[in-house]
């Protein structure tokens, strides 16, 4: 295992490798954004309505002060006791004052002792002004001023301004209490949501855990394949995994068989060699020993080629063009058999692409072509054509090679192909080319026939069904 994983693509950083962790990150970010915005909106609304209620309360007190005011001798008089006791209590935090014109203060409530409101622009007649001011003791206060002109006072153009103010501290306390509550509720909600998500995730990811479990079981040999009934998103994965497992099992079986055949078929020539060595020196049969070595070599080549053959399943296959492969092989053979002066005539389509294992296909076509070149007097004819499947699916092909050599007698044709079982049961010295081709064709689910060529020699036809 590599110690550091390769950089993951896109979202995934190497640190976030589990699906649950990724989801947790996403949900946390979303929760923070949504809850944050919600808290801000709610808080703004709350502040606005709290301020409105302060304004309303101050307004009512202004009206109360105005209704308590008396005009006497062209002057404004305020009664000693007011209906609102807060005006009478110093330090109550609620103060009232009345200004004549723009500056001179004509009345201040008893609670306003030692508290001066800073100068500010005053409203016009019959208008009000609500804002926050800083008092002389450093406290911030809400202040509401209303300008009025009394009909029965001489200077009707000079209005009186009635101002009532109260400290903002209780308001801020209220706002922050609200904020605290909000945070508490939303935190609880977030924890609840994350917990719910964890439960949901367990449920959603349970098929993945099951796959992992089953694969472990398969590794331990307790199970042969993944079970059915996975959610549709995983069905493709499990189906392909099962096919891969099956192919692998077949491959292993084939290797085991090949190894068994190889070992057994080598024992006979080995036995012959050993007994040949027991003969007194000078009486050794060199020809016999050489024959046995040839046989062993042939057995090894044959089993090697068989074991290499693909399993017929679309694992490790690629798009290959048979026309190029045939061209390459013929070019190579023309080089190797340059002395023979073989003329190879080819009827090939422009291109014939299909899915397959390049090595296997080369082995198949190479052995057939090599055989033709080996036996031909002068002429070899190669033709390749597409075999279309009736339902328009992937195409197969037909490959025909003819030569003008001696050919193979009808009764010997089966023998030339029959090499499927144990090599030690067959006659040594014959070429193994066609037998290997037959193995490869069989594995691909195709069809191999030998008959008499129009040129006079052997005609080999390979058809691989679509």
């Amino acid at each position: 295992m590599p110690s550091s994983p390769p950089p993951a693509d896109g979202v995934a950083t190497p640190a976030v490798r589990s699906l649950s962790a990724r989801l947790l990150v996403v949900v946390s970010v979303l929760l923070t954004i949504f809850f944050g915005l919600t808290i801000i909106i709610l808080e703004l609304g709350f502040e606005r309505s709290a301020e409105k209620s302060v304004e309303d309360r101050l307004g009512a007190r202004v009206i109360m002060l105005l209704s308590s005011a008396q005009t006497e001798n062209g002057r404004l008089e305020m009664p000693a006791t007011l209906p609102e006791p807060l005006f009478a209590t110093p330090g109550s935090g609620v103060i009232g004052q009345i200004q004549a014109g723009h500056d001179s203060v004509v009345w201040r409530s008893a609670s306003a002792v030692g508290i001066e409101l800073s100068q500010r622009a005053l409203p016009f007649v019959n208008q009000r002004r609500f804002d926050r001011v800083t008092a002389s003791d450093g406290e911030e206060m809400f202040a509401l001023s209303l300008a009025v002109a009394f009909d029965d006072l001489p200077d009707r153009t000079a209005p009186f301004t009635v101002t009532v103010a109260e400290r903002t501290a209780p308001y801020w306390a209220q706002v922050s209490r609200f904020r605290r509550q909000l945070l508490t509720y939303f935190s609880a909600l977030a924890i609840l949501l994350l917990a719910a998500q964890a439960v949901a995730l367990r449920w959603v990811l349970s098929p993945l855990r099951k796959v992992a479990d089953e694969i472990r079981q398969i590794e331990q040999g307790d199970q042969r394949a993944l079970s059915q009934g996975y959610p549709s998103e995983l069905a493709g994965l499990t189906r392909n995994t099962n096919r891969l497992l099956d192919a692998e099992r077949k491959r292993r079986a084939r290797y085991r068989n090949t190894l068994g055949n190889l070992a057994h078929s080598l024992k006979t020539p080995l036995a012959v060699l050993r007994t040949a060595l027991d003969v007194k020196p000078g009486h050794r049969d060199d020809a016999l020993m050489e024959q046995q070595i040839d046989r062993m070599n042939e057995i090894v080549s044959y089993q090697l080629q068989r074991a290499g053959a693909g399993s017929g399943i679309n694992v490790g296959q690629e798009k290959i063009d048979l026309v190029f492969i045939v061209g390459d092989i013929v070019e190579a053979l023309n080089k190797v058999y340059a002395d023979r002066g073989v003329a190879c005539r080819m009827s090939l389509p422009d291109s014939l692409r299909l899915l397959g294992d390049r090595g296997d296909v080369m082995e198949m076509l190479g052995n057939v072509l090599d055989n033709a070149y080996k036996w031909a007097h002068r002429d070899v004819h190669v033709s390749l054509s597409t075999v279309n499947s009736p339902d328009g699916g992937p195409a197969g092909f037909a490959f025909v090679v003819e030569d003008d050599g001696p050919g193979i007698a009808e009764e010997a044709r089966d023998a030339a192909l029959a090499r499927g079982g144990r090599l030690d049961e067959t006659v040594a010295g014959q070429g193994i080319g066609l037998a290997v081709v037959r193995e490869l064709v069989d594995v691909s689910g195709g069809d191999l026939t030998l008959d008499r060529a129009q040129l006079g020699g052997l005609r080999v036809t390979i058809r691989i069904a679509p």
Binding site: D328, A332, K335, V336, A338, D339, E363, N367
Partner: protein, 227 residues
């Protein structure tokens, strides 16, 4: 004829060298790809035998490099891998033929003969020029259909000259290619052999198959004929 063997298995390399020397070839041998490529590029080589599985540099790369260096002499591949994919790849890389291990010496010898002949422009195993026929397989020479009795060295001289028909071959080249290293390398001996060859091939001095070019060497002067 000087043959280069690039093969990493010492016993195989030794037995091949021995067989090649025995058959009258000059031999260079290398045990890895890098050394082999050096010999292939720097020495006067007529044919290279290259194993595909080599240390330091694969045989396939050695072949590509030899061809990339502009060398056109034939290359014979030795390989244990007999899948067609490997063979085709080797031949495409620039080799001319292959022999699959394990092999017999006779097989190698036949391929060598054929490759050398082909590289000299002779299409068939029997070289024919005027009345002279040299059978490279049987190592036999006939003039007007009658067999001529040649020593092994005389045969090698004639074969070498015929494989280079039309080209000038210097005395030094002949001694380099035909003598083993421990043999007497007196180039005057060459003149004696050429003289004997001329008498055996052309007793009437009518055909004049071998020309002497003063100070430069010899040339096989007859045009190859095909039957």
């Amino acid at each position: 004829m000087r043959v280069l063997i690039i093969e990493d298995e010492p016993s195989l390399r030794a037995s091949l060298s021995e067989s090649l020397s025995g058959a009258g070839y000059g031999v260079e041998s290398a045990g890895d790809g890098v050394e082999g490529l050096y010999f292939a590029k720097e020495y006067p080589i007529d044919l290279a035998i290259v194993d595909l599985g080599l240390p330091k540099m694969s045989g396939m790369d050695v072949i590509r490099e030899i061809r990339a260096a502009g060398k056109t002499y034939p290359i014979l591949i030795l390989t244990a891998r007999d899948r067609w994919q490997d063979k085709v790849e080797g031949l495409q890389a620039g080799a001319d033929d292959y022999v699959v291990k394990p092999f017999r010496w006779e097989e190698i010898e036949a391929r060598l003969n054929a490759l050398l002949r082909r590289s000299a422009g002779w299409a068939e195993a029997v070289l024919r020029a005027g009345p002279i026929e040299l059978d490279t397989l049987a190592q036999a020479v006939t003039v007007d259909g009658a067999e001529i009795d040649l020593t092994s060295f005389e045969y090698r001289v004639l074969e070498y000259l015929m494989l280079r028909a039309g080209k000038v071959v210097s005395k030094t080249e002949l001694t380099d290619r035909l003598y083993d290293e421990n043999e007497d390398r007196d180039s005057n001996v060459i003149e004696v052999f050429i003289g004997r060859l001329r008498r055996k091939l052309d007793p009437s001095r009518a055909v004049k198959p071998i020309e002497t070019l003063r100070g430069r060497g010899y040339r096989f002067a007859l045009e190859p004929t095909s039957r």
